[in-house]
Structures are given as structure tokens and as C-alpha cells.
Symmetry: C2
Subunit: 126 residues, 2 copies
């Protein structure tokens, strides 16, 4: 049940949990959430750089609820942005996240066609 995806010079493995697979890679649905986190993360970091808003780190948690019935899809997705830094400019950070949500992040735009996405921000002052 393991699939090695060749993407340019990279390989990404997906697999299922036992008994179907061997857990030799994450499940496709979890990789989908990693794609979402990577997409909006790239947007937010590059927008904050353009806006000259310094942060020291950005962590993104993604969570999703699955429907009970086949095909099992995300009934809701939650993205939690955890922004680290000193004297964080919350208004501008919120603006960058909204720009990713509304304008730039193609992955969230695609997933939002099927699944409502909730956005949360946590600030960690250092």
C-alpha cells in the first residue's frame, strides 16, 4: 500500500496504517494537511517579509474532522498559526494571514470548495 511519489528531485512516500499498510509513510489525507500548511506558511512568511514585519518562527498546526461515510472527506479543517517573536505586530500578521486565505493560497482555496476552514492565531512573545 506504500506509494513513493517522485516530485522533481524529491520523493514523498504515502502509506496506510496496519492492517492495510505498514505506516512506512504518512497517510494521503494527512499529507493533504501538510500541503495546506506549507502553502499558507509560504504565503504568510513571504508577505510578512514584504511588509517588514519581523517574526522569529512560525508553526502551523492543522486539524480536520472526517465524515463517517465514504468517501471520507474533511467536514471541517482548522489551521492554527503560532507566531513567535518580540513586540509582534498583530494587526499586520492578521492581515498577512487573511491575504493568504482570501487571495494567495491555492491549496486552501481548493480545499475550501469542499470543507469549511477555520483560522486561529496564537502569539508567543519572546
Amino acid at each position: 500500500m506504500a506509494f513513493d511519489s517522485q516530485i522533481d528531485e524529491h520523493t514523498v512516500r504515502t502509506d496506510s496504517k496496519p492492517p492495510l499498510g505498514d505506516s512506512s509513510g504518512p497517510s494521503p489525507k494527512k499529507i493533504l494537511l501538510a500541503s495546506l500548511a506549507g502553502c499558507t506558511g509560504i504565503d504568510v512568511v513571504s508577505l510578512l517579509e514584504k511588509m517588514r514585519v519581523p517574526i522569529t518562527n512560525l508553526e502551523i498546526d492543522t486539524e480536520a474532522d472526517l465524515t463517517e461515510e465514504h468517501p471520507k472527506v474533511f467536514s471541517e479543517i482548522r489551521i492554527i498559526y503560532r507566531v513567535f517573536g518580540k513586540d509582534l505586530k498583530k494587526k499586520k500578521i492578521e492581515k498577512a494571514i487573511n491575504l493568504s486565505k482570501d487571495k494567495y493560497c491555492g491549496v486552501s482555496a481548493m480545499l475550501a470548495a469542499n470543507s469549511p476552514i477555520k483560522y486561529m492565531i496564537e502569539y508567543v512573545e519572546e
Copy 2:
């Protein structure tokens, strides 16, 4: 611009191409297609096992066209299944792929809400 996604015990890195990133991992949108391939691949392999249809290998190519405008989303996705084996039972293989498409693959169900998906099958007799 690189994000390491911790998924259970696995790490999946996404990154952007230069000048934005360093290409240290595949782009989020390409990972999305890997998720799609892994999802339908697991379905097809497990369905063919249940149907006692032997194959020696399954390769899946995924391609997508992007819209020009932001947010850049897939205007069309194409999945090409390349099935390897001897005396391949095409009707049953087609049935397994249709079951994945219509019933089991949550990733394709989610993506199809935004992007039309085309399915193609190639048979490689060995």
C-alpha cells in the same frame, strides 16, 4: 520558506523554488497531487486484492493545469493509472478505479469539488 510537517512519526518538507525558497522539498501543490495519487493508489491496490485480480505493479501519474490568477488553483487534474501484469483483467481494473473515484477516495472527492478530474488507464502486459 521551508516547512517541515511532522505527521505521526514522519516528516514531510515543503519548500518553494528559488528565488522565494531553496527547492529543499516539493511545492505544496505538487504534494497535493502526491496525496491524490497515494489515496487512489491505496484504494485500487486493496480493491484489486479483494477482487483477486493480480497485478505486478501500479504506477500513477498526476498532472494538473493551474489557473493564471490568484489564488492559483487546479483548473483540471489528470490521473493516469499504469497497470502492469500478465493477462490483465481490464473490466475489473476499471471497476476498481471507478470505485475509488466514486466511493472511496476522499482526497479525489475533496479536490473534485473545485477541479474537474480526468481518469486514464494504461495497461502494460508483461
